[in-house]
């Protein structure tokens, strides 16, 4: 099964845009994150909130499981007929007066956008949140071309000022405290002696600053939560309204989306909407859900003159027909991040690329190459909460396990791990030796001095953060088993 999937067959192209391979340093980055007090404080504040809101939203409806089933039906069906629905979407969008572009790699997506900017002589771009543009590191490409680019989602704006990547797929600045946001605003805005000591004041300040950007921008770029094949529309889900302003005010609107975002029709989209916001923020629906279908018509009083949709592949077509096709059902709700013990402890940046948490640990190796991110499939305790909360029923732990297998096959696991695994394999294939070893181990464990010695000096780093349990057993399993069967016989 797994063999069908070749890691990164289109060469390393997709990596060059994401800068240095931060994904290589998951371990070092997590240690760093665990010692970062401000980050830990921010993560602690975030923790629980999402979990609680989600479970309340689910308890509010009669049968969330059935909602999930409908959403999964839609995605399974669409992925089975992806080529058909992409073609239908393209035809209908063109009928609506829009333009469709195709990009295999993130670079190509950037090039298409730069081309449109150049043709329109655009000097300034405003952006709504788009994970696809994060995949492509679009902001850097625009800046390099001398174009002024401003993120308008509040969270994205904050991290743009901080020159950092997002640390969560729906709340990008979850790792920042209000004091840090205040410092960033003081540094970037001409504030005089205005107070910024409340969250309300901070939100107002961003509103004020970004309003002018909205009104003056030449091009607006947003993502899309879904693309509707039979109406040729993009669906945009937000709470702030920034996406709609970005889509309405500038003379051209560019939607960046990946190919698996297409769904057959509005009825299908409804099934996904029903699970999306509940899983993400615990709302029945977000403040704004917009269906955008082309440029302004002759009668319209506002809206863009040009409407573009760029469809990005970036390895997704390679996942089809492999076990990793499951990952294409992801609707980027973030529930798996919010419920992940690893993510909650180290935050998003430790993962080193745009997608963190369980879904990122699967997606990042598939998109940037397993070699570049070999720690990520191992960043899991396999507790299974991610799969449990995933509205699309994606078997995240199983996919991580498959990636671990692949790592082993491709000799990407560290030597220490390989040797340990191989010796373990050899031992369990030799029952006598295994039996003898368990007897010794039990003796060591029941002896306090000896076991402390091993914990302290041999397995030092493992027992730094863990306690060795006391062992008072009356023998190994086999010893006890033999004893009891003897007693039964007599």
């Amino acid at each position: 099964m797994v063999e069908h999937y070749k890691s990164n067959p289109q060469g390393s192209a997709s990596n060059s845009t994401s800068g240095p391979h931060q994904t290589l340093f998951f371990k070092a980055q997590s240690s760093h994150a665990l010692l970062d007090n401000t980050l830990q404080e921010a993560l602690k504040k975030a923790k629980g909130g999402f979990i609680e809101k989600r479970s309340k939203a689910i308890a509010d409806v009669e049968n969330f499981e059935s909602y999930k089933q409908q959403a999964q039906l839609v995605k399974n069906h669409t992925l089975d007929h992806l080529a058909y629905y992409l073609t239908q979407f393209e035809d209908n969008l063109i009928k609506n007066g829009g333009q469709v572009h195709w990009a295999s790699t993130p670079e190509q997506l950037n090039n298409i956008i730069l081309h449109i900017c150049e043709r329109r002589d655009a000097k300034s771009v405003i952006k709504g949140k788009s994970m696809i543009s994060e995949e492509a590191n679009l902001n850097a490409a625009l800046e390099a071309a001398g174009i002024d680019v401003t993120e308008t989602d509040l969270g994205e704006y904050i991290i743009q000022l901080a020159k950092e990547p997002p640390s969560h797929i729906i709340v990008p600045a979850i790792h920042k405290t209000r004091q840090q946001v205040e410092a960033l605003f003081r540094n970037a805005h001409d504030l005089g002696d205005r107070e910024l000591d409340t969250i309300a004041a901070l939100v107002d300040e961003a509103r004020l600053q970004l309003r002018q950007k909205f009104l003056n921008a030449d091009i607006g770029i947003t993502g899309a939560n879904m693309l509707i094949a039979d109406t040729g529309s993009a669906m945009l889900v937000t709470n702030e309204g920034n996406g709609d302003l970005t889509a309405t005010l500038p003379k051209a609107h560019i939607v960046t989306a990946s190919i698996e975002k297409v769904v057959p029709d509005l009825e299908s989209a409804s099934a996904i909407l029903r699970v999306l916001a509940r899983s993400a923020t615990g709302q029945p629906i977000t403040s704004y859900t917009s269906l955008l279908s082309g440029p302004r018509g002759i009668e319209d009083l506002d809206g863009p003159e040009e409407f573009h949709v760029i469809l990005l592949d970036n390895q997704r077509s390679q996942m089809l027909g492999t076990p990793f096709e499951e990952m294409l059902k992801c609707i980027k709700c973030g529930a798996c991040l919010n419920h992940c013990p690893i993510y909650s402890a180290v935050g998003g940046h430790a993962y080193g690329w745009v997608y963190p948490g369980p879904m990122g640990s699967v997606l990042t190796p598939l998109m940037t190459g397993l070699k570049q991110s070999s720690d990520l499939p191992n960043a899991s305790t396999f507790c299974g909460r991610c799969e449990e909360v995933c509205p699309m029923g994606i078997p995240l732990p199983e996919l991580l396990r498959q990636l671990r297998n692949k790592e082993h096959e491709e000799h990407l696991t560290p030597r220490k791990t390989r040797i340990s695994l191989q010796s373990f394999m050899w031992t369990i294939q030799h029952p006598k030796i295994f039996y003898w070893l368990t007897q010794i181990t039990r003796k060591v464990l029941t002896n306090t001095t000896l076991s402390q010695f091993f914990a302290k000096y041999i397995f030092t780093s493992w027992y730094n953060s863990k306690e060795l349990p006391k062992n008072n057993s009356k023998g190994t399993f086999m010893e006890q088993y033999k004893k009891s069967s003897k007693q039964k016989k007599t």
């Binding site: 080529a83 309003r211 040729g232 309204g241 099934a271 923020t281 009083l301 027909g321």
Partner: protein, 221 residues
């Protein structure tokens, strides 16, 4: 850095489709049949109540009215309640189609016609339909209802006829009877004022769009 965009798209499109089709997920000439989907069922006799309770839960407010001619006075009251300047952007045409007689606007209000520019404190629009399941108002972009009014004003007032409330999201799409041949540029499903929880997960209203959302529910027919 100039590329021939048409050629570029043609080549890439072909490559992407080749990769998709290699997995036997081929483009079938006739439409595949999507499996039937279940929709949540609501108590039809209580649609208005369900709608209003969900709508209020989104931090929005409402008033029931029995005559459209009350609108100007209520708008004026709303500016006083929120202590805003008395500037309103609206396309009167849409309101006039509801009632033959023109509305009598008080002098205190300064009216302008859309698009909204960000200078008007209030926007007044008309919802084509509303969803009871989610408590959402649905507005279609048109000459009567330009999108900027929904997002650039500080406070948004929307008129809805009670008989236009439908049970769920699916019935809303049906009510709009959209087709690829006839799509409004934008359909906005609005559920409460603009909000953000991006700073310390604390919900704050009025991120970029309206700080408040008020419904004038026009009773019966």
């Amino acid at each position: 850095m100039s590329i021939n965009l048409n050629r570029f798209n043609r080549v890439n499109r072909k490559k992407i489709f080749n990769r998709i089709e290699r997995t036997h997920k081929t483009a079938i000439p006739q439409a595949p049949k999507r499996p039937p989907l279940l929709h949540p069922q609501l108590d039809i006799s209580a649609l208005t109540d369900i709608f209003l309770s969900k709508f209020s839960a989104s931090s929005s407010t409402y008033q029931s009215i029995d005559c459209i001619s009350l609108v100007p006075q209520l708008v004026l009251q709303y500016t006083e309640l929120h202590n805003t300047n008395k500037t309103l952007v609206t396309n009167l045409q849409s309101l006039l189609t509801l009632d033959k007689s023109p509305l009598d606007w008080p002098d205190a209000l300064t009216l302008s016609t859309p698009p909204a520019t960000g200078e008007q404190a209030l926007g007044l629009s008309y919802a084509t339909t509303a969803i009871a399941e989610t408590g959402s108002l649905v507005l279609c972009a048109s000459k009567q209802n330009p999108t900027t009014v929904n997002f650039l004003t500080d406070h948004h007032i929307i008129i809805l006829r009670e008989q236009d409330i439908v049970p769920n999201i699916e019935s809303m799409w049906k009510q709009l009877s959209l087709s690829a041949e006839h799509m409004p540029r934008a359909v906005n499903i609005i559920t409460g004022p603009s909000r953000t929880a991006d700073i310390e997960q604390t919900i704050q209203l009025g991120a970029h769009g309206p700080r408040s959302l008020h419904l004038l529910l026009l009773a019966g027919d």
